[in-house]
């Protein structure tokens, strides 16, 4: 293995010992972490829980298929889909609105404009930038489920609260991703526009944004794929969709209904993955 066959492929360097020790430490951490299960994993290995698990799994068959229940599942699935799409839309609006502040320093300062300009002039923009970044960080750190509890309190039970929760959390995620994308665009077009007398906003809109579009769209579709999975569980805190039905089925020990609902999530998630992948390819071809 010491000599790779082709001269143009760089040889793979073996990891030095110092690096192996990092991996060893991680491995130890992992081994210790399993103690959190308080013996449950050991009994799983010994097969005691396996029989219990098998017995439980057997209850899932056959999946519930009564017409009224299927209609209920279809409606819940549609609601979950709606939450994921509306939530993605809200997050795009939020991230887009914050973007100008969260990325502008790098983008619009690239024309050499800030060089030599006094600290007093740049201070307000810098403060806005820091504020926008902090807000995005905060939106992102608080998990969707907690935002959902918050919005259930604000606008009442139902899917709107779920969509808002997705919107705020993902507004933070997308805001960061969009800002990073924009910071990595080539500065040439922006500088050219600025040199030609364009304002800051137009240079941003016509110089920076067009370069970032494909990546922005890819990130947005990727978040939609994440959102459909989250939308399926937001119902646990009363934010509508399939999660609510799952919560009911679990609380009432209705395993055959649980089977149908799990299957519905599987189908819905895969449908969205397919749609998003198809859209991505189409849009990539268009750019």
């Amino acid at each position: 293995m010491s000599q790779p066959p082709s001269p143009d492929a760089p040889p793979a360097r073996p990891l030095p010992w110092g690096r192996w020790s990092w991996l060893a430490a991680l491995l130890l951490l992992a081994a210790w972490s399993f103690s959190v299960g308080e013996g449950a994993f050991l009994s799983l290995l010994r097969g005691e829980s396996l029989a219990q698990m098998g017995g439980y799994a057997a209850k899932f068959w056959p999946p519930a298929a009564e017409a009224p229940f299927l209609a209920l599942v279809a409606r819940a699935a549609l609601e979950t889909l709606a939450i994921s799409i509306a939530g993605t839309l809200f997050s795009v609006v939020l991230a887009g609105g914050m973007l100008y502040f969260a990325a502008s320093e790098e983008i619009l300062g690239s024309g050499g404009e800030w060089e030599g300009s006094s600290l007093r002039r740049t201070a307000p923009r810098r403060a806005l930038y820091a504020l926008a970044r902090t807000a995005l960080n905060f939106f992102r750190t608080v998990p969707e489920l907690i935002w959902a509890i918050f919005f259930v309190f604000a606008v009442g039970l139902g899917p709107f609260a779920g969509a808002l929760a997705l919107g705020v959390h993902n507004g933070g995620v997308l805001g960061k991703l969009y800002a990073e994308t924009l910071e990595n665009v080539r500065p040439g077009p922006v500088e050219a526009l600025r040199a030609g007398g364009a304002g800051r906003a137009s240079a941003f809109l016509y110089g920076a944004l067009p370069q970032a579009w494909p990546q922005v769209i890819a990130y947005t579709l990727y978040r939609w794929e994440v959102n459909i999975r989250t939308a399926a569980i937001l119902g646990f805190v009363g934010a509508g969709g399939l999660g609510q039905q799952i919560h009911i089925a679990i609380s009432l020990f209705l395993e055959s209904r649980l089977a149908t609902l799990t299957l519905a999530i599987f189908l819905l998630v895969n449908a969205v993955d397919l749609a998003s992948g198809w859209l991505r390819r189409r849009l990539e071809a268009a750019f």
Binding site: A12, R19, S33, P189
Partner: protein
Amino acid sequence: MSGAAPQRPPLSAGRLALLVAAVAAILASLKLSGANPALLLSGKALRSMADFGRGFLPPDVSPAFLRATWKPFVETIQLATAGTALALALGFPLALLAAGTLHLGGVLFEGDPEPRPLARRLRSLPYWASRLLLNVMRSIPELVWALLFVRAVGLGPAPGVLGIGVAYAGILGKVFAEIIEGTDLRPALALRAAGASRPRAILYGVLPPASRTLISYALYRWECGMRAAAILGFVGAGGLGQHIEISMRMFEHRQTATLIIELFLLVALTDAASARIRKMLA
């Protein structure tokens, strides 16, 4: 992709239809989800949100409470770490099966006599089976997996670990398979030609060049696991999430604020640790 795209194609019928469909889907979603900006921006909602938000301030930093949050803090780390370790153990073998370049294109079988059609089909069976299994594992959210495991192994952190383990194995397996598919397989071919066995060709020919990307993605999943572990507490898997849920239900919002700050610190800490490890490996 790059900036030189001034020649925009005219809006074809297909693209117009797509645009109309997208707008219709978005409008229908807004209606179905009961979106009502007036409701959100009404004075009453704004007031109640402000009251609600104010209840979180200032965070409860009394020594007694901080001491009480130590155990869930550590528990969250354990949940995430054990879950990710389990995901690696489950996902890695599946990734080897699901990496098409190893099986379908037949790097490992190159030089063998051309198999008969039926044998060929059978040979691709593990590939399709592992792909399907990985898909099922990652399509069902970890929270749902955890709930399913609660009934099977009892309440507590164990179902949380299993939930993260299964769902993340689905993701890791898929991404690992893609990384392996993107790896230069000539070293493995050379090893095979030199008479190495198939497992050895994978061990010494495929994994070393891919190892850095694989490790770095596993570390990224570990970070995601921290957030997931905090959520799983909502269904009784322990950790910070469980305490967040309890404190919210008891309207102890100042405690909730502290716990959310701790979650933020935990994620930042993992971020820094994995960035550090990644840098050492690079």
